[in-house]
Amino acid sequence: MELRVDQLAVARGGVTVLEGVSFALPAGRGLVLRGPNGIGKTTLLRTVAGLQPAAAGAVSAGAEAIAYAAHADGLKATLTVTENLAFWAAVYGTAAVEYALAQMNLLDLRDRQAANLSAGQKRRLGLARLLVTGRPIWVLDEPTVSLDTASVALFGDVVRGHMSRGGSVLIATHIDLGIEAEVLELGPYRARDGSQSSAFDAAFGGDFA
């Protein structure tokens, strides 16, 4: 399944931050988004994932092909590792809990409450959720925050495995995951002079003497 983004403009708080973003992400490939803080990586990823409407342009893959993971892991502190994963597996209608636990090296921690996990372990559990969704396109926002080197390597393996099975990955990150991926610099797509979205300018841009 190919993810195609066409002339996309995204807005944060009513102000367009990126415009004219176009790329195609074929099955089995990866794309890394780069750019300084505040340029709108998170906004772009949320728009691609269907959490907010695009200011202009289109995202071709339906939201039902995309699994999204952000800074917050959506873990429930009072549930165990297995319970957390089993919930998402049930929501997505898959049975991949054991496989996901093994892949993210969580088998030893399976009966521990999420509240008693370290930050890195929580992050691994959050990423294990991607494996139980069974969705082909992963949209990841800074997935390696609070992971140590070994866990980053582990996660890199998981992403490579996903790509080798025909999945694709759109990822915003500052570090090298050791995966084969193209890089998209977002700098050139910064909206010109912090302009308002065009519809808003047409409405509120005039002379209100």
Partner: protein
Amino acid sequence: MIALLVRDMRLAMRAGGGFGLGLAFFLLVAVLVPLGVGPNSALLAKIAPGILWVGALLACLLSLDRLFALDFEDGSLDLLVTAPIPLEGAVAIKALAHWLVTGLPLTLIAPVLGVLLNLPEAGYFWLVVSLALGTPALSVIGAFGAALTVGLKRGGLLLSLLVLPLYVPTLIFGAEVVKRGADGMATATPLALLAAITAGVAALLPFASAAAIRINLR
């Protein structure tokens, strides 16, 4: 869907506090009112239906601000919106879970508090019936208020201001059923209206709540 219900129930049980707090509040209302209005049992019997309904309503309100806020803070609301279950369904399920951990226990404990307030004997049956029929509406309407205020700091107070006026019809018909039941009058009309409100809000409001959540997450 069932997984969501099971998860929410499990969370409510393990968090401990939220489950008992509403009940304790309800109990406090039933204890404080007689202390405030005096021990005259005829007066208490007269106002018991209203006090019990207002107490149940406020107890319901207590835990509403956590209904979506917890999921919003830890990011699982984002994940639920992108999950393959319709958000309207998820909202309805979460309201159902809220009812199971607040409305249902309130309904079951209400007769005991009726004793404290000298509720006439004929009223107990109607108290349980009206709360069982009416409290689901309180949870569903409350879920709408929680959806409107999900991303806000200090949402709790605003939530009460938004939700309490919406509770007026449910409160009026619910308390009316008990009042008439206690007086030995026919209860069919207010009971039917109460059931109609519950059915109507359960069918329609989740759509508005889901829309509000989507707006708040953008």
